[in-house]
Amino acid sequence: MKRNLQLFLQFVRVNWMGEMEFRFNLLIWSVINVFWSASFILMINLIYANVNSIAGWDKTQATVLVIIQNIFVGIIWFFVIPSLRDLSHKIRKGELDFILTKPVDASFVLSVHKQEFDSYVRVVTLIVALCLYLARNSFSISPLSIVAFAVAFVSGLVIIYSLFFLLTTTNFWFIGIFNFDHLFMNAMDIATFPSQMFSGATKLIFVYLIPTLFIATLPTQILLGQISPVAALIPVAVAVVFYYLSQKFWNFALRHYSSASS
């Protein structure tokens, strides 16, 4: 664990040095990403100018939801998607050897080694925006719900990361598929709106099968006190199961790896 943390910090350092090579690029991308998030918040406002409520969520609640969803997406973009894109590339090109032969936890290294700092700027901006918005709209939030929210949110990250990692791992069989990230991005965008609006078959697929419930809706409900903080235990349990399965699957898939040249 300690060793993995040290490795992670080293990766942060190396990636940061890489970003500093193109400072102007980093600046532009940071601005664009903040702009993207602002557009989503604006979109919620435009929708609520024409509707009264969505599945019982009013405008302020939906705004909190979309900010939390954007923070979530920002963190996934910070290192999960860049790393998994690279993992997909390495599997397809047969370039895994250099990492598999090192005395490290390969699945960990492959999941965190690439980072894009423009997303980091977005996440920090949005966290500040969330705090200001909550204070301005005088939500009463107990310290307990904040802790439960944090637990649920981090578990949500683990769930979605595990799912994406598992899908990327199928590249061992589906060598031609290079665009899983398209699926990841569109799946996370489902969580822009409250999960309660889905019903029947769409609920089964878009809330549970693709577990978008854990991205924003459940954490937001816990934060705003709509449901008991104890509910945070559900994502924790799901996260444990998903993480365990993704690691099992990774070990299974590795047996099908047949390098390129070495």
Binding site: S39, I47, N50, H182, I190
Partner: protein, 264 residues
């Protein structure tokens, strides 16, 4: 003509090598359509939402998916790569062909195949949402709508070509790509129909090219464009095409003069 036909044929063959990724795109593209359709059907509001009935909104998003599949002639990614890695020297600079029509032929091959994927996914959606889907009011609506789709193809194609040609001068141009999608999403009506925008922004979108890349054919289909405004809207669409075609030509000529490649 025969030269370009062979690019077209080769491209069709290549496209089949990408059947895995195409299925991923197919599935991924359904997510926002289902999400937004569900949003409108479940939202509590009056009969009209920003001038649309719920059925019109569902139809807008389903047909929007078709417009997306039909009009995304977006060679930006591979053109910028060809320029960056120098392969454009062999593939276009030293050949007696028009680069514009070479790229157009390659894209035609790709879209000839993906067209069927797009149509199948839209038919499936129409079947699922048959209670809400609005079938066309008149033949004229369809014809005009299709005409604007074809113009959208040339518009997106020419603009993305200009964006790709930026690689002649700059090494990192990915920001342009992101800005394009953001503009089409929020100013072109892909996220929300343009009638959701505040009045002053709506006026701006009528002059900008992005409405004519997505929302315009859908507005015609649903009968949202008054007949008196149709001619001027088509003229604006055509003018933007001319601007980007000429710009692409100019950038190609100037880019060739400025271009330095190594190892070829």
């Amino acid at each position: 003509m025969r030269k370009y036909l062979s690019y077209f044929k080769i491209s069709i063959g290549n496209t089949f090598a990408y059947r895995g990724p195409i299925i991923v795109w197919l599935v991924g593209n359904l997510f926002p359509i289902v999400t937004f359709s569900t949003l409108w059907l479940s939202a509590s509001a009056g009969n009209q939402i920003a001038g649309f009935t719920r059925a019109e909104l569902v139809t807008y998003y389903i047909l929007g998916l078709l417009v997306e599949w039909l009009t995304n002639w977006y060679p930006y990614y591979w053109i910028k790569d060809e320029i960056a890695d120098g392969s454009i020297v062999g593939s276009a600079l030293t050949k007696p062909i028009s680069n514009y029509w070479r790229i157009f032929s390659v894209e035609s091959g790709w879209h000839f195949v993906t067209f069927f994927f797009g149509v199948i996914s839209v038919i499936a959606l129409v079947l699922v949402a048959r209670n809400y889907f609005i079938f066309p009011y008149s033949l004229l609506n369809i014809v005009l709508s299709l005409a604007s789709v074809i113009l959208s193809i040339f518009l997106i194609f020419s603009l993305s070509l200009c964006m790709g040609y930026l690689a002649f001068w700059f090494t990192k141009i990915d920001a342009v790509d992101s800005l394009f999608w953001a503009a089409r999403m929020f100013l072109g009506g892909q996220a929300l129909p343009i009638s959701f925008l505040p009045h002053f922004m709506r006026v701006i979108t009528f002059a900008l090219p992005f409405r004519y890349m997505f929302s315009f054919p859908l507005e015609i289909y649903l009968g949202k464009v008054p007949a008196s405004q149709l001619p001027s809207a088509f003229i604006i669409q055509a003018v933007w095409i001319v601007i980007f075609v000429l710009l692409a030509r100019l950038m190609w000529i100037k880019g060739n003069q400025a271009y330095t490649s190594f190892g070829n």
